[in-house]
């Protein structure tokens, strides 16, 4: 194992999959000559050439659709959105064409495509650039959605996504690109299956269910809670769809108390689905009502203080944990 950044981990995943399979190509805005808007594709143009690392004009609908068409005849496109906020311009391709094709063609055309890029609020980008899209994409049958929080997960999930025979969305996070973590050496194949959560920290008093940007938040809060003699277990979903119910239920059966901390909005958010499944399946395991900590239900304000107030934060999470623990 060695320590690398989340950005490097993604870069390695791309390079390894491009190297392994000639049907894989990377396409998006500024992925080639500019080396990636967030430098995730740094060096790939030089290594793989313009046939496989392809700059596009600002035409999300156009190039997302191009990817779906290329996937119909067996190529395995990786389509980068500069941010998933811009994927909304390509919503029709991501929601209508990519996941419906397999059904509508009676199983003749599956779409092995990866859509990837940063997702969720970053820092003071305002309402149009701060969308957390995981809940609405996860609600579409035929799509898979994963949300890596660490460099290791980023590499392993992206590689798995590229090899999946279905459309997979890899929702990265701008604020995580420079974060560091331990990852297996490059000569060791790292594949992390979709639909497998990971307990990032063991605990016995409360399960904090999180994903993406809320994972580091939850880990910090867990350290803080330890000083107050509350032992929090941190369950990182890693994939929103498929959802690892088993891991969630195992943790909750052990701790009997749940806080879900999510980066999307509360109404029809990821936490609502998780909450429903827990109460339906292991109602008797619960010692307290489940609490969700999410964004406030408003478009993201630019003002820094207001933005902080909208986002989940340590104070809100600690308060929620104390509430479910009756502490």
């Amino acid at each position: 194992m060695r320590e690398i950044t989340y950005r490097q981990a993604l870069n390695e995943a791309l390079a390894e999959e491009l190297e392994r399979d000639p049907n894989v190509f990377l396409m998006g805005e500024e992925v080639a000559e500019y080396q990636g808007a967030y430098k995730v594709s740094h060096g790939l143009l030089e290594r793989f050439g313009p046939r496989r690392i392809i700059d596009t004009p600002i035409s999300e609908n156009g190039f997302a659709g191009l990817g779906v068409g290329a996937a119909m005849v067996g190529l395995r496109p990786i389509i980068e959105f500069m941010t998933f906020s811009f994927s909304l311009v390509a919503f029709d391709q991501v929601v209508n064409n990519a996941p419906n094709m397999y059904t509508m063609s009676g199983g003749q055309f599956n779409i092995p495509i990866t859509f990837r890029g940063p997702n969720g609020p970053a820092h003071q980008l305002g309402a149009t650039h701060s969308h957390a899209t995981e809940n609405f994409y996860a609600s579409v049958p035929g799509l898979k959605v994963c949300t890596p929080a660490t460099p290791r997960d980023a590499k392993g999930l992206l590689k798995t996504a590229v090899r999946d025979n279905n459309p997979v969305l890899v929702l990265e996070a701008e604020l995580l690109y420079s974060s560091k973590g331990m990852v297996e050496p490059p000569d060791e194949e790292l594949l992390i299956p979709l639909g497998k959560a990971e307990v990032k920290r063991e605990g016995s008093d409360v399960s904090i269910i999180c994903y993406s940007q809320t994972v580091p938040l939850a880990l910090n809060v867990a350290a803080q809670l330890e000083e107050e003699d509350i032992s929090a277990e941190i369950v990182d979903l890693r994939s929103i769809k498929p959802l690892d119910e088993k891991a969630i239920f195992e943790s909750v059966t052990k701790t009997h108390r749940v806080v879900i901390v999510e980066q999307d909005h509360p109404f029809c958010g990821v936490g609502a689905e998780v909450c429903y499944r827990i109460q339906k399946n292991i109602f008797d395991a619960l010692d307290a009502p489940i609490i969700r900590v999410s964004q406030e239900d408003v478009p993201m304000p630019y003002n820094e203080r207001l933005e902080k107030a909208v986002l989940p934060n340590a104070d809100k999470l600690v308060a929620a944990v104390k509430q479910v623990c009756y502490a």
Binding site: N23, F25, R51, T56, P57, S59, N61, G62, F63, A64, G65, L66, G67, V68, G69, A70, A71, M72, V73, G74, L75, P77, D92, Q93, N96, N97, M101, Y102, T103, M104, S105, G106, G107, Q108, F109, N110, P112, P141, G142, K144, D164, N165, N166, P193, L194, G195, K241, P242, E245, K246
Partner: protein, 348 residues
């Protein structure tokens, strides 16, 4: 050998008759409520797809919008499978899961059947991208209506095709109406083909009621593309005799206008050309028409007696390599009730 010379014109006339009789029968079966949803008929436009398909190889890619029955038939999808799809049966060309607007036939390189106006044009560019990526000499034919040319997807797709020099012919089937809105009321240009010029794509106009004109122009474009990949644009002036869909009485146009086009009927026209040249007798034509009618009638019978898709396959076609729901399958597990003969996913 030039593909144009390979296709027998009498055979092509026979295909046009098959399309016409198929659509007439579909209309009747729709009214008898054997067919659900939306149903858009191709009657009047037969020379367009027939002419275009006559100009390409069987392994070239074709893709179209929702008025797609003819494109499947022209590509060689069996009338049985087409009619069964309209009936929603398991034997349909999309296993009864697509319906009238979503015909697919992988084997015959028919890539749909797409019902969101212009949303398939980027897909077509993707098919062409794959051709160039692999260094093949195939061509993609992308059909769409005049209603598609004011969608963003159309413009983005044309720009990408021109930028990357992709092997594709954009074929605009201009039947003068986007649903009930005439081209004059929807499009700022005097003629649709001028849209291509804006993207530096060579474009031409042909008479879509004339099989030979469509075929020869497409052949010329495809020929040039095979030598050196590039996009081309063809505006085909045509007319649909029926309404936009089965529920449209087409009250936005006059009877006189319809009659004018009926007199210019593409089937009548090719028949007259062939008769004049001594390549077809009246008896032969009647026989072709009789055969077309019989084929379509047999297709209705086939569709009627075909089974419904089984309920226990509901989750079989959501994810390739197995369902995720219900029963919370892990994605790597195969679906439990995958039936024999179920298609295997694209893994190459």
């Amino acid at each position: 050998m030039h593909p144009v010379e390979q296709r027998d014109e009498v055979e092509m006339l026979s295909l046009m008759l098959l399309i016409r009789r198929f659509e007439e029968r579909a209309s009747q079966q729709y009214q008898a409520q054997k067919i659900g949803g939306f149903c858009h008929l191709y009657i009047g436009q037969e020379a367009v797809v027939t002419g275009a398909v006559a100009a390409v190889r069987d392994d070239d890619y074709i893709i179209t919008a929702y008025r797609d029955h003819a494109h499947a038939l022209a590509r060689g999808t069996s009338p049985d499978a087409c009619m069964a799809e309209l009936f929603g049966k398991e034997t349909g060309c999309s296993r009864g899961l697509g319906g009238s607007m979503h015909f697919f036939d992988k084997q015959n390189h028919m890539y749909g059947g797409h019902a969101i106006v212009a949303a398939h044009i980027p897909l077509a560019v993707g098919l062409a991208f794959a051709i160039k990526y692999r260094g093949e000499d195939r061509v993609t034919l992308c059909f769409f209506g005049d209603g598609a040319i004011n969608q963003g997807a159309f413009h983005e797709a044309l720009n990408l095709a021109a930028l990357y020099r992709l092997p594709i012919v954009f074929i605009c089937e201009n039947n003068l109406f986007a649903m009930g809105t005439s081209v004059q009321r929807s499009t700022s240009l005097r003629q649709i083909v001028d849209r291509a010029e804006g993207y530096d794509i060579p474009g031409e106009i042909v008479d879509g009621m004339n099989f030979r004109e469509v075929r020869d122009k497409v052949a010329e474009m495809v020929d040039s593309i095979r030598k050196e990949p590039h996009p081309a644009f063809l505006e085909v002036r045509t007319y649909r005799y029926r309404g936009h869909s089965m529920s449209d009485p087409a009250s936005y146009r006059t009877k006189q206008e319809l009659e004018k086009y009926r007199l210019d009927d593409p089937i009548t026209r090719l028949r007259a050309q062939l008769t004049r040249e001594g390549k077809l007798t009246n008896e032969q034509f009647d026989l072709l028409d009789k055969r077309a009618k019989e084929t379509v009638l047999a297709a209705v019978k086939f569709a009627e007696k075909s089974p419904q898709p089984p309920l226990d396959t509901l989750y079989d076609y959501t994810y390739a390599n197995g369902a995720m729901e219900p029963g919370h399958h892990r994605p790597e597990e195969p679906a439990q009730k995958r039936r024999e003969g179920a298609p295997s996913p694209n893994t190459d």
